[in-house]
Each structure stands twice: as C-alpha cells, then as structure tokens.
C-alpha cells in the first residue's frame, strides 16, 4: 500500500564513527574484564546467537543537485540474521547503494564479504548471500514464526546497536500491530509491529524474537518519542520470501483504488445502497498505474473482497481483528487475483482484479542502486523530479518554483498533472555562463514542453536539445508565462566549454532509463 505521509520515522542503521569507536578486540577484552557471566548462556540462546550477524557496509550515493558527482563513501553498520538455505536477511536500507558489504558473527572475529541477492525497497528488506563456505561453519539459522505474536507478548530485539560492539539483547512487549509508513521508500506503508524494546541505530536488520522464532525484523524508530520501535512483521517477511522464490523480486502489487467510507446515510442513499446492506466503501479515484484501473470504476461500492465483507469504513475482519481491506491485497503476489463483489449503478456485480504493480514514476519513492539520470546542456542541468531531490529543496515563498515542485509531487495524480508525461523534468541547476546568465528564474521549474512537444523523459529532452543546429529552442515551464529561449547554435557551441569549465563528464555518462 502506498503511503500518504511519513513523519518522524527514521531507519536505524548506524553510521560508522571510525575514530571514536573502540576496536572490536579492545571492546571484547573490556567486556570480558567487566562482565564475566555468572553462568553460561542457555543452549537456546547459543543457537540464536549463531545466526546473528553484524553488517559493515560501505555506501556511496550521488549528489542529487549535481548528479554527476558522488558523495564521499560512508560506512554504516547494521544487523542481520541467517535463515534456511544459507541466506541472510536484513533491511534494504542497510545495504542500499552498497559498494562493499562484509558480515561478521559475534563469535567469529573474521569478516566475510557478502552481496545482495534480492532487495525490496518498497518493504525495506534484502536478502544477502555469503559466498565463503567458511562463514557457515558453526552458523545456525533462525526460523520465521508462522504468525504474528499477540499484543503484549514478550519479545527480544537482538542485534548490534550503538553503545557497544558486541551482540545486544533488549526485551519488551508487542505494543501495537498496525499499518505504518516505511521510511526507506518514503512512499509505502505495510503492516508494522511496534515494540517497546529499545531499538537503536545499528539494530536495523536484526531479528525481533518471540518464542525463539523471528516475529519481525527491526527497522525503524520514532523520533521525539520514547520506547517506540518498529519491526517488519512476519506477513511482510513471508511476502518478500515468497516473492523472491521465483528468482526475482517483483514487489508489492498495488490495487490503486482510493476509497471513501459510506458512514453517512446520505451517501449510502445517493449511491443506491440497499438498506439491508450495512457495509461497503466507495471507490473515489483510480490510479492509472494501479491494478484496478480498467476493472473498477469511481462510484463502485465495494461490498466484499475474496468473500470478506467490507465495512462502511473499508475494513474487513480477519481473525476478529479489523484491518483495512487492502490487507488482503498485501498478502498477494503479482499475477494473483482478488475478487470483489460490488454495486455499480445499483446493480450487483462480481469483478476479478489481476494484481500487478507496473513502474510508477509518480509515486516518488526514494531511489537506490541506480545511477541518477540527468542531462547537462549549455550549462543547464535537467533531471527527473525525485523524492531525493525534493529533500534538498526548501519550500518557501521567495522560491515559488520550489513550492510548485511540492505541489506536483503531492498532487501529480489527484490533479491529473501526470497526464501525457512519463516523468516530471526539472531544471535543477544552472552552471553560470554568459550563455545562460538570464535563466535563473527557471531553476526548479518543471519543463512543460520543448518546441511545443512534451518530452517523454530526460533522455528525450537531451536528444531534442542536441538535435537542432540552428534556430531557437523554446522551452515552456509549468506555471511560468514566459518561455525559455535557447539559441540552438550558441548552445551547441558553448556546451563543450561549459562542460570543461565545470568538470562535467561526457554526455555518454549521463544516466539513461
């Protein structure tokens, strides 16, 4: 399910402070000196401990404002655990944009190189493999629980959080099971398990155990709140594992149907819902990129999904627990079908929707592991509008264009701004040169068309800019009444020297879709 807003939720991978940190060996000695255990750990915990790993990850991201440049590599640490089949599970945010990954068990001083086999940014999960067979010597595995733990169940979060170098165990209870935002993508929400066990930076990817089995995978906490940590619960873990079983990760299917409740008797009457029907929610908008487009229609009153009665607030009862009906979609994979019974124009119908989730550039998830796409021409830097770029843009009155970017990102679909476009192209920067010295007002403007034609993407815009050798390019920007005029010959003449002046790599290195 896509997220509408995420507030104050942060992933909890730990930045690596190279110069402040004790070496692992020194810390181990210190622990031995101070905390010699009174009795040996239970055998059960040995088994658990043998499955937990610490991840050392070197990451590097591109600078969204100057996408041909990279930020310096940074090292983070996180946690993970071994499951059956010699696979490791951790968070996507621990290993996204990774250039180099090593894993280490608490009982083994050696680090082993690892690599990402599957990564699901929409559910913040990743599966790693370690090629060295030595790593698996004495390694144990953890089992995924078959179901969610109940509320108030006692759980333990295990991993390598800040505050020390050795394995850490914190205990608490399940405080809440709910839908929540997944901060890693910034645009998704799924089931989350809230616990009051301390979850700190470095815990990311570690297991939350209930009855010796993995009930969830620690992944984020809430700022400005006490004892609120979140785990990715069993249903989401299982969905990920089932998804990758065929050798590729498809991601969550998206129904793409927004609904409103029918609690008000007047809306029920206006929709012609018979009085003997007490539930049902009404489709208010369909997402062109969702699975329901072409099957459902605005105004359809959804009565059941796969036989579950939908309440007037859009909830269904599963195991006597009310959950939003989209929960059933969440449990499905690409290609699965969900069946609705609905009222359309006062008549009952049954409709099956085949689930899918095609690439949707207007969801604006944070993007990882792909080189940024951009185009530099005549000192003008164009790039697709992304959530990452928006993070660098402030929204204030003096910069109306920034406000417009926020509007386009938030209302792309609701206000139909995306129509006829495959992405929003933004002039993100001007590299000052006499060629473009009067073009600052266009920075952070959204390209509406070039020479009367809507570009299909940054690549297409680059082609059109570079194609003409004479005459003028006329670029119109959304919301701006004056066009940008470029002298095609002058732009072509100056482009190489501006590239040289600012150290811009050759155009061939610009990311392509």
């Amino acid at each position: 399910m896509r997220l509408t807003a995420v507030a104050h939720v942060v992933p909890v991978a730990q930045p690596h402070f190279r110069f402040l940190r004790l070496t692992r060996q020194a810390a181990a000695l210190l622990l031995l000196a101070l905390f010699i255990p009174a009795r040996a750990p239970a055998a059960a915990f040995d088994r658990i401990e043998g499955a937990i790993v610490k991840l050392y990850v070197v990451k590097q991201r591109a600078n969204p404002q100057m996408p041909w440049l990279s930020y310096p590599p940074s090292q983070v640490t996180g946690s993970g655990f071994v499951i059956a089949g010699r696979k490791l599970l951790t968070n996507a945010h621990v290993v996204s944009d990774a250039k180099f990954i090593e894993v280490q068990r608490d009982a083994d001083p050696r680090r082993y190189p690892a690599r990402v086999e599957f990564i699901g940014h929409d559910c913040d999960l990743a599966m790693l493999v370690v090629d060295s067979p030595d790593f698996f010597h004495d390694t144990t595995t953890l089992k995924i629980a078959s179901s969610l733990p109940p509320l108030a169940a006692e759980v333990a979060a295990i991993g390598f959080p800040a505050g020390g170098d050795r394995l850490s165990v914190t205990r608490g209870i399940v405080s809440r099971i709910d839908y929540g935002g997944y901060a890693h993508s910034g645009a998704d929400q799924h089931l989350v398990l809230q616990v009051d066990a301390a979850i700190n930076p470095g815990n990311s990817g570690g297991p939350i155990l209930y009855g010796g089995k993995v009930a969830a995978l620690a992944f984020q906490g809430m700022m400005a709140a006490e004892n609120i940590g979140y785990g990715i619960p069993v249903p989401v873990l299982k969905h990920f594992l089932a998804d990758v079983a065929d050798g590729k990760y498809d991601g969550y299917p998206e129904l793409g149907a927004e609904t409103v409740n029918t609690r008000n008797p007047a809306i029920r009457k206006s929709l012609g819902i018979p009085v003997d029907i007490t539930g049902g929610c009404v489709v208010s908008r369909l997402d062109a990129f969702g699975a329901a487009a072409g099957s459902l229609k605005p105004g359809d009153v959804l009565l059941t999904i796969d036989g579950y009665a939908i309440g007037d607030d859009g909830s269904i009862l599963i195991g006597n627990r009310p959950v939003v009906f989209q929960e059933l979609v969440e449990r499905r994979q690409w290609g699965d079908k969900v069946a609705f019974s609905l009222l359309r124009g006062g008549s009952r119908r049954s409709i099956e929707v085949t689930l899918r989730n095609p690439f949707d550039p207007f969801t604006f998830r944070y993007e990882y592991d792909t080189p940024p796409r951009y185009c530099v021409y005549a000192g003008l830097v164009f790039a697709p509008l992304t959530r990452e770029y928006m993070r660098t843009v402030s929204r204030n009155a003096s910069r109306a264009n920034d406000l417009q970017l926020s509007y386009y990102m938030q209302f792309a679909k609701e206000d139909g701004l995306y129509r006829d476009r495959s992405e929003f192209i933004v002039l993100i920067r001007r590299l000052p040169h006499s060629m473009n010295t009067h073009l600052d007002p266009f920075v952070n403007g959204i390209v509406d068309n070039i020479n009367g034609r809507i570009p299909t993407g940054v690549d297409d815009l680059a082609c059109q800019l570079r194609a003409a050798a004479h005459g003028f390019h006329r670029l119109e920007f959304a919301g701006m009444e004056a066009p940008m005029i470029l002298d095609a010959a002058a732009a072509a003449d100056t482009d190489p020297s501006i590239r040289g002046q600012y150290g811009i790599p050759p155009a061939e290195m610009e990311g392509r879709r």
């Binding site: 409103v260 409740n261 029918t262 609690r263 008000n264 008797p265 007047a266 809306i267 009457k269 206006s270 929709l271 009404v282 489709v283 208010s284 908008r285 369909l286 605005p298 105004g299 007037d312 929204r395 204030n396 009155a397 109306a400 406000l403 417009q404 926020s406 509007y407 938030q410 209302f411 609701e414 206000d415 009067h438 073009l439 003028f472 006329r474 919301g479 009444e481 004056a482 066009p483 940008m484 005029i485 470029l486 002298d487 002058a490």
Partner: protein, 505 residues
C-alpha cells in the same frame, strides 16, 4: 522619583538625535498621536472576530477636522482616538476614507471642534527641494523635529501590502518606528507622510506629496479613485537569445507582456500576451522596465501608470506584436484586489462564508493562507498555496474564485466527512460553482446542501437535505455560532463591476 529618572534619561537620549522643542511649537495643533483599536474577522473561524489589538502611530491635520495617517495603521479599526501635543485628553475620531494601494487614510473628528487642529498645507510638485525635517511626538507628547535628507525616490512595494508606488527614501534619526509622521519642508509644507521607518539604516519610506494631494482632493470629491492599472503582467526582456528570437536588438528597449486581463467595459484586452512594450506615453521603456523620467530620472515604468495617470485615463503604447510595430490606445482602470482569483485582502475586510450541516465553505484568500503562520508555505495545504502563488492574478473568467471546504464542524449530519479539510469545491448540488456567490445563489432556505463536488475526489459528498435545518441548529448551539451568522455575504462579495478576467492564449 523613579519616573523622573526615566524621563530625564529619555530626554538625554533623544537630544542626541533630534532637536527637542520647548514651549509652543507651530505644529502643536498639527501633529497628533493616533491610537487605534483594531479587530478583524478570524480567517479560520470566520463567524467570529480575532482578539482585538491596539496600535499607535501618528497623523497630521489636513483640515480643521481631518487627520491624515496611513491605511496600515487604521486597518481593521474599531475605535480611533487622537491626542494632541501637550494634552492628555483623547479625542474620538473615525475613519472616513482609506486606500491600501496608496497606504493613506483620513480620520474625521466629530463634531467639528473649534480651533482644535491647525491644518498643514501640502507641498506642490513631486520632489522637495528645500531642507527637510520629520516631526514626531515623544512619549511625553512633546514635539521632536529630526533633520531629514532625501536619499532617493523610487517605485517600491508599500510596507505590508502587495502594491507598488513612488516613495521617497529619507534618512533621519527618529526615536519611533510608528507610521504617520509628517515630512515637512523648511517653510512648513507637507512633503510626505512616513509609512515605515527602518532603524537599521535610519531610512524612512515616505508617501510623496503628489499622492497625498491627489488622495485628499479625490477623497473630498466622492472618493479616492485609486491607482491606475493597464491590467497586464510583464517581465524584463534581457536575455539576448529571447530578444533575437523576437527579432529585437539584444541591447535595445522593450519589456515582455506575460498575461493580460480584460479591462472594464471591453470584450478584449488591448495589450496581448507576448507583446513587447517599446514605448509608453512617448517614453522609451528599457529592457529592465525602466525609463528616463523628466522629474525622477531613471524610474520604474510602473510610475507612468500609478504616478502620472489615474483610472479613466488612456495611454498611448507602442508594442512589437508578431514582428510588427503597433500603436495602441490602452484604457487605464483601477485593478481591484477583489478581481483576483485569490484576493490578498490586506485590508482585512470580512470575507463571505457558509456553514451548512457543519461544512465550512469559503473562498481562498491570502489572509486565509497567512492564518497558518509565518511559515504558511509549509503549513498550509500545498495545492492552495500553489494556487495563490501561481494563479493569484489569473482568473479564467471575471469573478472566478477558488471555493474551498476549509473544514468540517463535526456533527451527526456530516458523519464520515469530518476528516475533510482544505478541499477545493468544484460544485454544489451537482451545479458547478465559480465563487461563493454561486453557492449563495444555489442555496436558498428551501435548498440546503445535498451534495458537494470536490476536486480530485470522484464521489459526491452527500448530505441529507431534510436534516439540514436540525443540523444547523445543533451546530449553532454546539459551536457557539449565532444562527444568523451561519452565513455571511458581504454587500459586494464579488464586485458588481467585476471585469477582470484573464485573456486566454
């Protein structure tokens, strides 16, 4: 004893900057202290007023019963009182004329007092040539005179309002930042009225005598006609490539017309989008929008409109249109804030609203957005903030406004809709609406709201009309809204003479 020490200390401070005048002063019945108690409609709960505020400033007598001050001081005035130098008594006054475009206001004392005020005469001409001083009252109501020096005269934005007019920038040492102080010539004539004083650079922004003279003359003859507008937006035309593409000399004159509004009483705007204005009333307009004024030197071309002409005049404009030069006869009129798609309403006039079955409907205005705080750009609904920022002056048709469902006052009647907030209303009862007047027209006593159509939501928000009266009664009681205040329609919600619509490209 403590009070005496404070007074002595204050006197010592001001004597450095200003010459204190003891005893009788020629201005002692001319300059007055103005105390305003103001109260405005609450933008978020429009059926109630905001807490009242008190503000102080100054004024200058321009007739035996009239005091000139700034509009920004008297904004939202509920009570006005005057005090004269050396007098403790307060004199009741009322606002009889004000204009935000000129930032000037007239206060009247009723009944006309005998010999209470000694009016000042307004200087003739535009630029004062003699030595200048700004007169003020200190906290003991003694007159202070501060030498002043005219630094520049330029078209600037009026403090606290989105309007531009010619202002004098005057350097002076003053002990107060309050507005309404007179700028006086050596022979005691009024050369301007202080609208704003910045202590940091000791600069007062002053409304010039020419504007004041016009304001006073027209106020006495039926009302101030306001500033002239030709109803178009423009931008400098500096980019050589853009100029060459239009067939213009890269270094030559001309500014670009961006959009135009249809003037009153006409079908089509005379100026058109993409025209290049080369000359205005014979003055060549350079590519940045400046011209060489005979009095002011290099000045913004806006002065040719709001300084040298008035509504009802016509201007001769030379434009380049599609490669050919044309000479146009452009009518000038007063652009009213209420002609905008999203009015600023800087004056804080009560805005129309409807509370029906708990649904609070109103028109989007800048005052509404500003109610979200100084960081309204991040706090207010981004769609509404965008409409204000990008489409404020661009109604598709005369009278267009953005009708919003600002929030819902929870009640049984609106169960299921109580989460709705800042949604754009496109229709009521299935009929499209362009402004709240349309909604008033649709809703009579016998026609309550049966449905709302909201932008981006493909399902009607339906309400039970038969429950409307009972719901309104409950909401009136629960939320302390007098029944007669559930709807407010100003005398002129959308001006009857509304004319300004955007020309379509």
């Amino acid at each position: 004893m403590k009070g005496t020490a404070l007074l002595l200390s204050f006197a010592a401070t001001v004597s450095i900057a200003a010459r204190a005048v003891h005893g009788a002063d020629a201005l002692h019945r001319t300059i007055v202290q103005v105390e305003i108690t103001s109260q405005m409609q609450d933008p978020l709960l429009p059926w109630q007023a905001q807490p009242f505020q008190q503000a102080g400033g100054f004024g200058v007598a321009v007739a035996s019963n009239l005091v000139l001050t700034t509009e920004s001081l008297v904004r939202g005035c509920r009570n006005a009182e005057l005090r004269l130098p050396g007098q403790g008594r307060k004199i009741e006054a009322r606002v009889i004329e004000k204009d935000a475009q000129a930032n000037l206001a007239l206060l009247s004392i009723q009944p006309r007092p005998e010999n209470l005020l000694s009016p000042v005469h307004v200087m003739k001409g535009l630029i004062p040539t003699s030595s200048l001083e700004i007169a003020a009252l200190d906290r003991t109501l003694r007159i202070q005179r501060s030498p002043a020096m005219l630094r520049a005269s330029a078209v600037e934005r009026i403090p606290g309002a989105p309007y531009f007019m010619l202002q004098h920038a005057v350097v002076a040492d003053m002990h107060t930042e309050d507005s309404g102080l007179p700028l006086l010539t050596a022979d005691g004539l009024l050369a301007g009225l202080v609208m704003d004083y910045r202590r940091a650079d000791r600069t007062a922004m002053v409304a010039p005598a020419a504007h004041i003279a016009r304001f006073l003359a027209e106020s006495g003859a039926g009302g101030f006609a306001g500033m002239a507008s030709a109803g178009f937006t423009w931008q400098p035309l500096l980019d050589p490539a853009h100029r060459r593409s239009l067939g213009l000399d890269p270094l030559g004159p001309g500014i670009l017309v961006l959009s135009t509004l249809v003037p009153p009483g006409t079908e089509e705007p005379v100026l058109r989008d993409d025209d290049v204005v080369m000359k205005w009333d014979g003055f060549e307009i350079d590519s940045t929008g400046f011209y060489e004024d005979t009095d002011l030197g290099r000045t913004s071309f806006a002065y040719l409109l709001n300084g040298r002409t008035r509504p009802g005049d016509r201007s001769k404009v030379d434009v380049l249109r599609e490669g050919s030069m044309r000479s146009l006869d452009v009518p000038l009129y007063r652009f009213s804030d209420t002609d905008a798609l999203v009015p600023e309403n800087v004056e804080g006039n009560p805005e129309p609203y409807i509370v029906a079955s708990g649904m609070v409907l109103r028109e989007l205005s800048a005052r509404y957005l500003y109610a979200f705080g100084s960081d309204w750009q991040t706090k207010a609904n981004v769609r509404l903030a965008h409409a204000y920022t990008f489409r404020r002056m661009a109604p598709d048709r005369p009278g267009d406004r953005i009708v919003i469902l600002s929030h819902v006052l929870p009640d049984d009647a609106n169960n299921g809709y109580q989460h709705l907030r800042d949604e754009i209303v496109t229709g009521v009862n299935g009929e499209p609406v362009r402004n709240l007047n349309d909604v008033f027209a649709l809703l009579g006593p016998a026609s309550p709201i049966a449905s709302l159509q909201l932008k981006g939501i493909g399902v009607d928000v339906s309400l039970d009309p038969s429950e409307a009266a009972a719901s309104d009664a409950r909401i009136s009681a629960k939320y302390r809204i007098p029944a007669e205040m559930l709807r407010f329609r100003p005398d002129v919600a959308v001006p009857a003479n509304t004319t300004a619509g955007r020309s379509r490209k």
